[in-house]
Amino acid sequence: MKLHPILAALRKHKAGTVLIALQIALTLAIVCNAIFIIGQRVERVNRPTGLNESNLFLISQQWVGAPSADAPDGVEKLDALQREDLAALRNLPGVASVAPINSLPLLNSSWTGSVSLKPSATIGDKTGTRTAYYFSDEQVLSTLGLKLIAGRNFNAGDVQHQGFRDSPPRPIVIVTKALADKLFPQGSAVGKVIYSDGSSSPSTIIGVVARMQTPATGSWGNDFAWYSTLVPTRMDANFARYAVRTKPGQLDATMRAVTPLLYKVNPLRVLDDNSIRPFSEIRAKAYRADKGMAVLMGVICLILIAVTAAGIVGLTSFWVGQRHRQIGVRRALGARKIDILHYFQIENLLIAGAGAVIGVVLSIGLNLWLITRYEMDRMPVLYVLVGVVAMLILGQLAVFVPARRASNVPPVSATRAA
């Protein structure tokens, strides 16, 4: 089929043509970027923390009128309170293991610092590597389900304790593989020495775990999301957190048993609705905003596509009605039904194609603008290409019903008044 008559006819319908093309262009630009946002959020939400997240819960609690860590032997008294809790929790039936810990991945409460290969580096001079610290004890790997891939685990003799705001030397640490690879690109980090937070005393890496996410999920934590350092130290403060792994299937029962148990150990403490949370709840809270954004973008995409498809149906129907008589003439002159159908389909392909070309420019422009304004990432071209194909298919689907109606116009219409 020759394109010339189609182009000539479109010239007579400039406004309608421009409107459909514009609509397709805008839809393409918005849908591409929205789907890209959805893809990114889904990827974020699905990244594994490195933990075995089932049968795991967290206790966060605070003692009332606890001894001040500033007072003489205050730290010792606080540590005694903590050990008392740990002993009671470890005796609870249904509990597999318990570890005191300052935070967990996705908890958004972090202790960050920097580690460096040289001693006495000043913090903030940007030569160090940013990391998040987890202070725990020898049960941390089994409790969180972390996978040790090199070196050894902490043992009970390694575990120290310190006041919450103190910074004693950290003689041994376990780091994640990501951090080990960053610090020692040649490999074999085990046995090597690093210096944390500008300290002059060395920390020896005794083990490497496969993966462990840092607590922060905000954009500020993206650069070091996998750079975690585990320190065998119980933190002593007026509050404490305990990670608890239960035996399979005993999560709910164990969680219910914790509150009465801890009150029995020491009634002068705060335990409220938020104190005992399964890890699934921590995960849900951390990614709520991401899921919400993905849902929102999805809804908007659906509405957009529906509106654009409906617009194409509406305008093409109008054109079919308007050209009723001309179609009749063409049919009378020998055009087959399929020729009329193809005419409208090719017409739509041309308009949608033109719209898609503008849409590609708009999509990339919108993406670049979002990058400068809202910390968005660069959108892979694949998204735009898939978007273009999707728009062309959408146009063909939308045009089919009116085009078929056009192809059913009988040749006899040529002889009738419009």
């Binding site: 001040s68 937070d197 409220d272 954004m293 849902v295 973008m297 409906a310 305008l315 109008f318």
Partner: protein, 438 residues
């Protein structure tokens, strides 16, 4: 005449119910999506204290020097203890307060009840008049109480309800971290959003308001530790909370009220003078690099409005734009289909203005119908943001009269704008041509 056009419009819309429904649906969904996003954006970008925000200032002191500045050269967004206390001592603004977040536990008088945990701030007495904090009973404490490190507290109405059943509790005492404090005031529901006096620690939004306020130096003396962020550029040399106070770690928020341009200039000069003094004393080894932003500029610099909210608003407006382009196309089809009718009217003497009025009326009706649908969908949208957004933010999005009116107005005006070009084309129809072709 208008009544006649109304009748014509309704008759015309009834003639092609499919097309009409399409336009109404498009406008309804477009308007509802934008208005729902708008309600969220409005909630998080609102001025928490509009009558005073231009007089409230947040000073930033460059305690850390070049290595501690952000990418755009800003000093830390909080203060260390030394600077905060020095600024309070110099007392150069009309009203000012250093603040830090606390999270003490309260032991109820009823021994059968378990202790509870409350959030709050340690502040100076000028905090209350500076921020126009509303009181239900009593007042804040005095400057003398600040100096004497008095054992007093101000509690919010929710905590008052919990501890004292809502009765006037001024003069009664509560047990915080196992020490007794006398209640001097009870707030009348006060939970500004964002929590502008300390956005660094609260992250901006919180459904739970601060329950307890106590004098800054009283809290320091009682060793009630800070509960928010602590940022350090060097590891503190001494241990504990006292070590934190002697360190260069930043953890204190600060706000000052400056009523005139000259007061702002004077305060700026004072801050620079302070930094120069520190430079001379050898504490800073760099030239003064302070900031003094008023509240709106400060909230902006701290990116309080989540970028997700802005992107959603943008995308929703994009959707509305597509819906309008769609409406232009459909109205064009609808109007031009009636070229012969227009031809007859024009031939019978109707001026172009009459054609304009007739078709804009029709567009307006479509807009109004779309607006009504939009209202319903906006109500559904606002009610369901709680399903998708973080709770602290979702709780702020509200359906009120102004949002409803705005929804209707946007729908009608946008549709009439969309109707302008089709109407123009309709008014250009040549009567002779139409009559001839029939």
């Amino acid at each position: 005449m208008f009544g006649y056009y109304l009748e014509l419009a309704i008759r015309s819309l009834k003639r092609s119910p499919g097309l009409t429904a399409l336009m109404v649906l498009a406008i309804g969904f477009g308007v509802a999506a934008s208005m729902t996003s708008w309600s969220v954006f409005r909630a998080v970008s609102g001025d928490p204290i509009p009558w005073k925000s231009s007089q409230l200032f947040v000073p930033q002191i460059d305690t850390w020097g070049p290595n501690g500045r952000s990418a755009d050269g800003d000093p830390p967004n909080a203060m260390d203890y030394t600077d905060a206390v020095a600024l309070m001592r110099d007392h150069r603004a009309k009203l000012q307060s250093a603040m830090y977040e606390i999270s003490p536990s309260i032991v109820p008088a009823d021994a059968a009840k378990h202790p509870i945990n409350v959030s709050g701030h340690a502040v100076y007495s000028e905090f209350f008049p500076m921020l126009d904090v509303p009181f239900k009973y009593g007042t804040g404490w005095s400057a003398r109480d600040d100096q004497n490190r008095a054992q007093v507290v101000v509690i919010n109405s929710k905590l008052n309800q919990k501890l004292f059943g809502g009765a006037n509790s001024v003069g009664k005492s509560i047990n915080l971290e196992r020490q007794d404090y006398r209640v001097v005031g009870v707030l009348n529901d006060w939970n500004p959003q964002p929590r502008f006096y300390d956005v660094v620690n609260s992250g901006g939004f919180s459904t739970e308001g601060d329950a307890v306020f106590m004098p800054f130096q009283t809290a320091i003396q009682a060793a009630i530790p800070n509960d928010g962020n602590t940022n350090c550029n060097a590891v503190p040399k001494e241990s504990g909370f006292v070590g934190l106070q002697h360190s260069s770690c930043v953890w204190i928020a600060y706000m000052a009220e400056l009523d005139s341009a000259s007061a702002v200039t004077a305060y700026r000069n004072y801050l620079n003078g302070y930094a120069r003094d520190q430079q001379q004393a050898g504490r800073f080894s760099w030239a003064p690099n302070n900031r003094l932003r008023n509240l709106p500029a400060w909230l902006d610099s701290q990116h309080i409005v989540p970028s997700d909210t802005k992107v959603s608003l943008l995308v929703a407006f994009g959707l509305l734009l597509v819906c309008l382009v769609n409406t232009v196309g459909l109205l064009l089809a609808k109007f031009l289909r009636r070229s012969s009718e227009i031809g007859v009217r024009r031939a019978l003497g109707a001026p172009r203005a009459a054609i304009y009025t007739q078709f804009l009326t029709e567009a307006g009706i479509v807009g109004a119908a779309g607006g009504v649908l939009g209202l319903l969908l906006t109500a559904v949208g606002v009610a369901s943001v709680g399903w998708v957004l973080p709770k602290d933010i979702a709780a702020l999005a509200r359906l009120d009269v102004s949002l409803l009116l705005l929804t209707l107005l946007v729908a009608v005006i946008a549709t009439m704008l969309a109707g302008l070009y089709p109407t123009y084309r309709a008014s250009r129809v040549q009567p002779a041509w139409q009559l001839k072709s029939n």
